[in-house]
């Protein structure tokens, strides 16, 4: 990372034209910090909502047999849990970070298109309403899995239309947001900040934004075909009319796999920011980190069919997708080794953000390895649609993306609020989350290997013990997140005053402005050496 100095300080930040207040401050906001805050709160609300659904899933799976919900409801819970966590919780959280941090890190006064930024956020609300309201329409919410494979999604009730429309809206929001982020990064960097001096978080978001604008339209295309199949008599996916349901899987995963990296690359950016701070060493191998991120992004477009090994493909195709998938572990490994090398012989301290980051490096690597196991074609045929896959993607999405988000929140919270969070409670939150997470998901490797299928509300007796352990872990994991909410609220309301630099080892433009960051920053661009 570059050494940066701000020559100008916006001490007149709370300036003459004042600062809008009340509800309209938020509704009409074009301020990147306000919009970032709204993104983060939105995603946290969705996180709790979809998390509550997961509690329902685990309550049902606590014991074999049907106790709390009927299979139809169970399927709705798993489907909506996935859709909302991905599109409502993780993606908006990262956009929230981008809004807050990208302009601060590159020394820009705001995003390139502040009004579009406002629109990107407010599009999330109707989408969330559509998704949540779909639970209450006749037939209930979508129940065919978050991937919405036909023929179930072609046959489903009006909730499918509502969800598809919601995803269309979220897609527009993501695309507009990404164009905004790319333009900001390319055109609004402070003088002297060359591309290779940008903080790693900005790099990962630049690449993520490119993935979004290339992949989201493909999802929009697939969903549009689904809608025309449902209502306008086309037969893209209808076997009777010469279509093919497998076509949907190809189009969907052509979007879906880049989507996986959309949800993890910004997390890598957060780790690459936090680890050097608390190791008190610059990031090891900055350039290789940039190239590795770009390599992951490019490879993410040529591995999609590893999600479809069992749905029919010639052997040559299966082998291609197996090897290209395994290839991704090379740039990912570069990143993991760089983080380890950053920590090597560093003067490490273990504040909450660092604890989260170290846990993510460790647990994400476990998820990466189980992904490598799933990539092996003959093994995947056994593991397809079992709890092993559930364990794998929770190790990369929860202990990868979500825990990186939590670490990032603790890391930047003092800059956002002006107060230090309660370190003791933060550590409690960390340990509870990490232990409960592993209690929940580690046993799923075993139940999956033993053949327990996912998305089924009942299971055979032999899985009873492991499922009970998983459920107990899940309840603890769910409750621990309320502690997170409490710590954040407590920090907003008060606490030890944060200094500008906040962390002893923190470097970069965002640490040169006051804490809390004033409403307007860098109206006169800083000089980067």
């Amino acid at each position: 990372m570059s050494t940066t100095t701000a020559t100008h300080h916006d001490d007149h930040a709370h300036d003459s034209h004042g600062h809008p207040t009340g509800l309209m401050r938020w509704v009409k906001s074009t301020n990147h910090k306000d919009i970032g805050t709204m993104y983060l709160w939105f995603s946290f609300a969705m996180f709790l909502f979809a998390g509550a659904m997961a509690m329902g899933i685990r309550a049902e799976l606590f014991q074999p047999g049907l106790q709390f919900v009927q299979p139809e409801t169970f399927n709705q819970l798993t489907t909506l849990h996935g859709l909302i966590m991905i599109f409502g919780a993780i993606m908006p959280a990262f956009v929230g970070f981008a809004n807050w941090q990208v302009p601060l890190m590159i020394g820009a006064p705001d995003m390139a298109f502040p009004r579009l930024n406002n629109m990107s956020f407010w599009l999330l609300i109707p989408a969330a309403i559509l998704l949540i309201a779909s639970i209450f329409v006749p037939g209930g919410a979508v129940a065919g899995g978050w991937t919405m494979y036909p023929p179930l999604s072609v046959q489903g009730g009006m909730s499918v239309d509502m969800s598809v429309f919601a995803l269309h809206i979220l897609g527009v929001s993501s695309i507009v947001g990404s164009i905004n982020i790319i333009t900001t990064i390319f055109n609004m960097r402070a003088p002297g900040m060359t591309l290779m001096k940008m903080p790693m978080f900005v790099w990962t978001w630049l690449i993520t934004a490119y993935l979004l604008i290339a992949a989201m339209p493909v999802l929009a295309g697939a969903l549009t075909m689904l809608i025309t199949d449902r209502h306008f008599g086309t037969h893209f996916f209808n076997a009777a009319g010469g279509g093919d349901p497998v076509l949907f899987q190809h189009v969907f995963w052509f979007f879906g796999h880049p989507e996986v990296y959309i949800m993890i690359l910004p997390a890598f950016g957060i780790l690459s920011t936090i680890i050097p701070t608390f190791a008190r060493k610059p990031l090891f191998g900055y350039a290789s980190m940039v190239y590795a991120t770009a390599a992951i992004a490019v490879l993410s477009f040529v591995v999609w069919a590893h999600h479809m090994f069992t749905t029919g493909m010639p052997v040559a195709g299966q082998l291609f997708f197996m090897y290209s998938t395994m290839l991704i572990s090379v740039p990912t490994g570069v990143k993991v080794f760089n983080w380890l090398a950053t920590m090597w012989k560093g003067s490490m301290t273990f504040e909450t953000p660092m604890l989260f980051s170290i846990a993510v490096v460790f647990l994400f690597t476990i998820g990466g390895f189980s992904g490598l196991v799933c990539a092996i074609l003959p093994v995947d045929i056994q593991l397809q649609d079992t709890y092993y896959v559930v364990a794998h993607f929770h190790y990369v999405l929860f202990s990868g993306a979500a825990m990186a988000i939590m670490g990032g929140v603790y890391y930047w919270l003092p800059k956002w609020t002006g107060h230090m969070y309660d370190e003791k409670l933060g550590k409690w939150h960390f340990w509870l989350t990490t232990i409960a997470f592993n209690v929940t998901f580690f046993p799923m490797h075993f139940t999956g290997l033993a053949g327990m299928p996912r998305r089924i509300p009942d299971y055979s007796q032999q899985f009873a013990e492991f499922n009970m352990i998983s459920s107990l872990g899940a309840f603890a994991l769910g409750l621990s997140q309320l502690l997170f909410l409490y710590v954040v609220i407590k920090c907003i309301r008060g606490g030890e005053k944060a200094t500008n630099q906040v962390w002893e080892g923190a470097h970069g433009l965002e640490w040169t402005v006051a804490s809390p960051a004033p409403f307007h920053t860098f109206e006169t661009p800083p000089q980067v050496k």
Partner: protein
């Protein structure tokens, strides 16, 4: 250059970049829709996904029957929702020599109260065998009408091409019978059973 000029230059550059980026978005959207015809073309050309050419094939007089080899052909059939028929193969499997022209049949009965129009969509598994499975005569080439309570024997005249890869010993032929009046079936009629579905 004063601050306002700088700002308007920046906003023009921003707009230009945003429009360029929207081209990527447009390309992504077009690509999504291009996948559908590309996929059909690829599957047909390469015989993947059970989507072989299953139109009427004339028998080839010069074709040699490979008496040294046996292939088991399994027949399956099912009706799709919206068609009150029962439908099943007369023989569930046959052993044939590659190149040998064989006649078999399916039985269909209308259990509903009304006369109904049906159309059968064939598919072949394993996918690789689809290119080598040829039908000379098949009830799936045209729509079928059954009156209430009527049953009908539906013949299939087929052969397996002698150049079927040596590791394929068993070929499964499946028919899915769709209601020919619903919009789905209408579309199937226009395809006249030319595009079989894939069955795992």
């Amino acid at each position: 250059m004063n601050l306002d000029d700088k700002k308007s230059v920046l906003s023009a550059t921003n707009n230009r970049l945003a429009w360029k980026l929207s081209l990527i978005v447009l390309a992504g959207l077009l690509f999504a829709f291009a996948i559908a015809p590309l996929y059909d073309l690829l599957c047909k050309e390469l015989g993947l996904n059970g989507r072989a050419d299953s139109t009427m094939t004339a028998s080839d007089k010069h074709m040699k029957i490979d008496k040294t080899r046996w292939v088991t052909v399994i027949f399956t059939g099912n009706t799709m929702p919206g068609l009150a028929w029962s439908f099943s193969p007369a023989q569930t499997s046959l052993r044939v020599h590659p190149g040998e022209i064989t006649l078999t049949s399916y039985m269909a009965k209308n259990n509903g109260a009304d006369s109904e129009l049906g159309v059968a969509v064939p598919s072949v598994t394993p996918e690789l065998a689809a290119l080598y499975f040829k039908k000379i005569e098949c009830f799936c080439f045209k729509q079928q009408t059954l009156k209430s309570g009527e049953s009908k024997k539906m013949p299939v005249l087929f052969y397996v091409k002698p150049d079927l890869p040596a590791d394929v010993n068993t070929v499964t032929l499946n028919y899915a019978f769709y209601n020919g009046v619903t919009s789905l079936g209408q579309a199937a009629l226009t395809q006249a059973g030319e595009t079989p579905i894939k069955v795992n």
